[in-house]
């Protein structure tokens, strides 16, 4: 057993210097990937007209802020899970998700009161939203998964869910600068679907990659 001198010696023999998981760098890498995705989407599909005109619609500003909080806030919690410690809280994601609930809840209320823009928006626009957001989110998830693999997350299932939520938030944030729709119903429907799909994919895929 390792606690015997010979076994401890064997482990010591395998020792090599390690660099502690740097969650700040990994968060920055996710941010850079999100920005790269945003630039690619704008280059391929174009930027919003109000953004180009320098007069962004209030919905764009609100959506950007909430998606940034959801994406980066949840990613911060995910990365903290790579460095376990009894007594350490990783609950920032709860606040981020609570704030983002404004979109699905607001969307339902808006739809119930007559804003049915989601119904009139071309389905192709919705599919484009899903495609770009999921592609951007998948790329943004890579550094998070790498950090968790190097680290020691004690709750792989929760980490999987949260990687998905963070990736969905960052992917949607990147697409947001192209998305021409300001309807709360449209945002509540398609952006929620993006985050939901990413969360489910994270739950299914990530735990098996990070279990130790």
């Amino acid at each position: 057993m390792p606690q015997n001198d010979s076994d401890i010696a064997a482990l010591v023999g395998e020792l090599h210097p390690v660099r502690p998981v740097n969650t700040g760098v990994m968060l920055a890498v996710s941010g850079v990937i999100m920005c790269t995705a945003m630039i690619a989407i704008v280059a391929l599909a174009g930027a919003r007209a109000d953004l180009v005109a320098g007069a962004p619609d209030p919905m764009l500003l609100i959506r950007t802020g909430i998606l940034a909080l959801l994406g980066f806030g949840t990613a911060y919690s995910v990365l903290a899970m790579a460095k376990p410690s009894v007594g350490r809280s990783h609950n920032g994601w709860k606040t981020a998700i609570a704030a983002a609930m404004i979109f699905p809840v607001g969307g339902i209320i808006a739809a119930a009161t007559g804003d049915n823009a989601y119904a009139t928006a071309p389905v192709t626009a919705g599919m484009e939203c899903l495609f770009y957001s999921l592609a951007g989110g998948s790329a943004a998830a890579v550094p998070m998964v790498m950090a968790l693999r190097k680290g020691a997350p004690t709750s792989p299932l929760r980490a999987g869910w949260l990687v998905g939520v963070a990736a969905g938030g960052l992917g949607a944030l990147a697409y947001n600068f192209h998305c021409p729709f300001d309807s709360l119903t449209y945002t509540g429907l398609y952006y929620t679907v993006v985050v939901g799909i990413c969360a489910a994919a994270g739950r299914l895929i990530v735990p098996r990659l990070i279990r130790w």
Partner: protein, 174 residues
């Protein structure tokens, strides 16, 4: 003599830099600490294996330690994770009473209490905690656990399943 938190932390920081002497001291002291940590929390014949598994995890996950934070709460998180993982395994062993003698003095200070396995178990509903204690820690059968707790056999199984799932989510909680 037990190494202090500060000493263990210094050993760990040096070990991350590749200092083999510090790593030897760290593993030796951590092994002793873990033996006390797991005492009475798993069958006596499994303690050594669990200490071994945990030290292997420490070895593989050295990069997950944040040098800015205390060492023992990190080690406790690794240990709790391995302990819950071990409980999940469907092992069977003979029921036996936990009358073995393990030194636990000095392990009851405030910090140790906050990161202990008891603290973790106490966060479960009583039915789940008692089912896990009797069947997974003390090694009683389903029938014996059912008789002792007054729960039906199926309830014992359900409570263990739910309890272990909840323990997994609570590993880093105080």
């Amino acid at each position: 003599m037990k190494a202090s938190e500060d000493a263990l932390r210094a050993f760990m920081v040096a070990a991350q830099s590749g200092d083999k002497a510090a790593y030897t001291a760290l593993l030796t002291e951590s092994g002793r600490w873990l033996a006390r940590f797991f005492a009475r929390k798993i069958s006596p014949d499994a303690v050594d294996d669990l200490v071994q598994d945990t030290l292997m995890s420490v070895h593989r996950k050295l990069a997950s330690y944040d040098p800015q934070r205390p060492y023992l709460p990190w080690l406790a998180a690794i240990a709790r994770y391995r302990w819950v993982d071990r409980l999940r395994q469907s092992y069977k062993h003979e029921a036996r009473t936990l009358d073995f003698d393990v030194e636990t003095e000095g392990h009851e200070d405030v910090v140790a209490a906050k990161i202990s396995i008891d603290r973790l178990l106490n966060q479960l509903p009583e039915k789940q905690a008692s089912a896990i204690r009797l069947m997974k820690i003390e090694g009683h059968s389903v029938t014996e656990t059912s008789a002792r707790t007054g729960q039906s056999a199926s309830s014992v199984k359900v409570n263990i399943h739910r309890g272990l799932k909840k323990l997994s989510a609570l590993i880093e909680s105080e």
